[in-house]
Symmetry: C2
Subunit: 333 residues, 2 copies
């Protein structure tokens, strides 16, 4: 397992420097911490700060930009940013209208973002947060708050960014962002492991012909380990599990993301989407928007996840606002 | 090696169906052949048709859209589209102003696109072509016409698309597109093989700690096989080889693409770019635009390529026109 790095200890720092430098038209790096900051922020609005562990690129830094996040606070590989990094990043984009934090629902992130909010509150900065818990394989429906956040993050950030830009108050932005979160479900299947850069070993093991449904982005246990199956079977299995968990019915409109976990090709994601679309058509569910990309990854992990966000008039309004970030761009409609 | 497919014989067909369906806001599929066609084409202009073998997604279909290609003719995995597919795709977007074909310089593509141009000429349709031969590892400078086309395709298509939209004649579009091609060089390094979907075996072999500089997208031999090296050494080696081949000097402006070959992460591409930018800064070369993405891939191949296009006023004018396709979008400036 070869990783294109210099020194395991400098991976995050060097990669953020490179990313910010490549997209310097849009990004600056916080001078002191690993925060990626949007240059052309809209003024006088609630600020959206996202963040989490590194190693899942382009999540989170890749979604800083127009109509999405104002900044991303980046932790070490698969580790939450510390409260200092979160606070410094938030200060840098504060407009006096409050800060909404959006991040994945992991113990370390919850702890550190909560600590940061306490510090900011002491300084008179109003904050709120929405934890993304879209992975319906990671806990049963009665314990959604124990679920992990995976690729559904992208939809939630999209809605939150548009709501901030629309000039909503912090409380209003939080409410619509929670609705986006509550209307989004994801589930994935792992076909091969990722690795921690520099450690030179896989994050988990899977047999030559084995796959695992519901496995987490860091190798957290899934719901079923089985033999490799044809693409249409993989797609249908995920679809059935998603729909069991989600109040989607004939006549509804949804956004779909088929997300590669790292080494899965656009060709493979396309074959999966073909089947998902066939199933949605069969069930009378209309696709408003679909995306086939590797947006929330775990290094070179193989496999993919399917995320579905159910739209209503309000979510659709915000989803349809244009956005432009280096790794996620939508024309308005 | 697990591939997320159904049947090796249907991989290309099913993936095109899925891709077109996901991005149906922009795409339609040709009813008879594997051609991907842009829905919202500008009228009364030269049409840009790109194409080549499948398996390198998002190349070529992913670059059909606003300010880029009007259509892509798609072959089987790593195989040129046949002349019939090319002709049918060209007919579908013909506006009576002529067709420019842009494709990678491979024997099969050259043969089939030439045959298609002959057929179209017989029907009174004016055509021209620009073959992309950016891979400077694949033949010495005195034989640039023997070089292969790799990720530099993206820059050449960007310029060609903008020139078509600007209302230039076929001859003018061809001339500026050739300039873009002549000003673009790429070189890559492979760290692990890709595979042919369904064949279940790697396209080439590399030892556990081996890499190969200059290896082609289909496993064509490179210029040097050696041991794995730190990211900065890989970046500098490619940079030195590029600059040896390319008339770039202090004061010049360039566009840079650090392109992942399949399973290489954005984190790794960012670390590479950090070094490339340091070297360009040292040499006084200014970066006008940079992109860190996996745009021209060979399935789950590991490694990356660096492409540099030297700008002049004319190329910059066209590069700065906005474009929007599912896998490559630029805001205007």
């Amino acid at each position: 397992m070869k990783k294109i790095i210099n020194n395991a200890d400098h991976v995050v720092q060097e990669s953020i420097e490179g990313l910010v430098s490549a997209y310097e038209r849009y990004y600056t790096k916080h001078p002191e911490v690993n925060g990626i900051i949007y240059r052309n922020r809209r003024k006088g609005k609630v600020s959206l700060v996202v963040g989490g562990g590194s190693g899942h690129e382009p999540l989170f830094g890749g979604f800083v930009g127009k109509g999405m996040a104002d900044a991303a606070a980046c932790g070490n590989i698969f580790a939450s940013p510390d409260p200092g990094t979160i606070c410094q990043t938030a200060y840098a984009v504060d407009e006096g209208k409050g800060i909404l934090f959006v991040y994945g629902n992991y113990a370390g992130d919850n702890l550190n973002f909560d600590a940061a909010e306490e510090i900011l509150a002491e300084e008179g900065i109003q904050t709120a947060h929405v934890r993304v818990w879209d992975d319906c394989a990671s806990a049963p429906p009665e314990r959604t708050e124990d679920r992990r956040g995976i690729a559904g993050d992208v939809f939630v950030m999209k809605i939150a960014g548009a709501a901030c830009d629309a000039g909503l108050t912090l409380e209003e932005v939080k409410t619509v962002t929670e609705k986006a979160r509550n209307n989004t479900r994801s589930i994935g299947v792992a076909t091969s492991p990722g690795s921690i850069p520099g450690l030179n070993k896989p994050t988990f093991e899977l047999g030559e012909n084995e796959i695992e449904y519901g496995m987490g982005l860091h190798g957290e246990p899934g719901i079923k380990r089985t033999v490799m199956e044809p693409a249409d079977v993989l797609a249908e299995t995920l679809y059935v599990n998603l729909l069991k968990d989600m109040p989607v019915q004939s006549g509804d409109e949804v956004c779909v993301l088929v997300n590669g976990l790292g080494s899965t090709t656009v060709l493979e994601l396309s074959i999966i989407y073909r089947k998902i679309k066939e199933l949605l058509d069969r069930d009378g569910v209309m696709v408003h928007d679909a995306e086939l990309k590797s947006l929330c990854t775990c290094q070179e992990m193989g496999g993919f996840s399917v995320s579905i966000m159910k739209l209503d008039a309000e979510l659709k309004l915000y989803f349809d606002q244009p956005c432009f970030t280096p790794y996620y761009a939508k024309e308005g409609r």
